[in-house]
């Protein structure tokens, strides 16, 4: 299992405890299981059901961005999901091994734009308290950090 090793960049100052690390193929058919893992972990970390489902949706949309924009629909790569908890929230990392993507290419749509599409990134930013692309540990792939604070 590849360790993310980027905890020093986390905006939560308290010590982090690893709750889940899961490596899976970057295919749409596997995401239902991933959503279940995230939901269960978020609930275990103290989030209410609705908030935990929001976090699962955000991770699901982020995984779809990786599949569509990073791996471009090819099923050749993996995604590593790591979830840490602290006293005040959870930090999730999504690591892929695809060519580096320009985050501006998958930015959210304008809120008054009623064309279908680009909603996934809007969901991620609406749900999470912090969304940041970090340099991956060995310079390969992409590393997304998502933070959700416990209310």
């Amino acid at each position: 299992m590849t360790s993310i090793g980027a905890k020093e960049a986390c905006p939560l100052s308290e010590p982090l405890e690893l709750m889940l690390e899961q490596r899976f193929g970057a295919v749409l058919a596997g995401l239902k299981v991933v959503r279940g893992s995230v939901l269960a972990t978020a609930l275990h970390c103290g989030f209410e059901d609705a908030e935990a489902r929001d976090v699962a949706l955000a991770v699901d949309e982020a995984c779809k961005n990786i599949i569509v924009h990073a791996y471009r629909g090819e099923s050749a790569g993996d995604i590593v999901l790591s979830i840490y908890r602290s006293r005040s929230g959870i930090v999730l990392y999504l690591r892929d091994f695809a060519p580096a993507v320009d985050p501006a290419q998958i930015g959210p749509r304008a809120l008054d734009d009623l064309r279908p599409g680009k909603l996934g990134t809007h969901f991620i930013r609406a749900i999470m308290d912090s969304v940041e692309y970090l340099p991956p540990p060995d310079g390969r792939g992409n590393l997304l950090q998502l933070v959700k604070i416990l209310e």
């Binding site: 749409l28 009623l114 599409g117």
Partner: protein
């Protein structure tokens, strides 16, 4: 997922079942756009939807926009709280015509 299309009092009713997400959106989009193409109002039953993501919202939005061009309407009904939350996140809950149940959807203009 298994989806179903019926006709009631001149309106088409589409029941979506299961996960309305990117994995299934090609099928769902085809079903919705085919329904809209008949020139009748399309009522979409969301009561059996277990998950809705951004691509599902996009498919529904495309159907609404096509119906508007055709002079018909797409009305959604019986969404559970989890599904409603996704409409709220998209800030499109006022763009869609969303109703509590079939009777309300049939009785109300878009």
């Amino acid at each position: 997922m298994t989806d179903d299309v019926t006709e009631n009092d001149g309106q088409l009713i589409v029941q979506l079942v299961g996960d309305v997400d990117l994995e299934h959106c090609a099928t769902i989009r085809g079903l919705l756009l085919d329904g809209v193409s008949h020139g009748k109002d399309l009522l979409v039953d969301l009561s059996q939807v277990t998950y809705l993501d951004s691509s599902g919202i996009a498919s529904l939005l495309e159907a609404v926009q096509m119906a508007t061009k055709n002079g018909t309407a797409v009305k959604l009904f019986a969404a559970n709280a989890q599904v409603m939350r996704v409409f709220e996140l998209a800030r499109l809950d006022r763009v869609f015509s969303i109703h509590p149940d079939l009777n309300d959807a049939m009785a109300t203009g878009a």
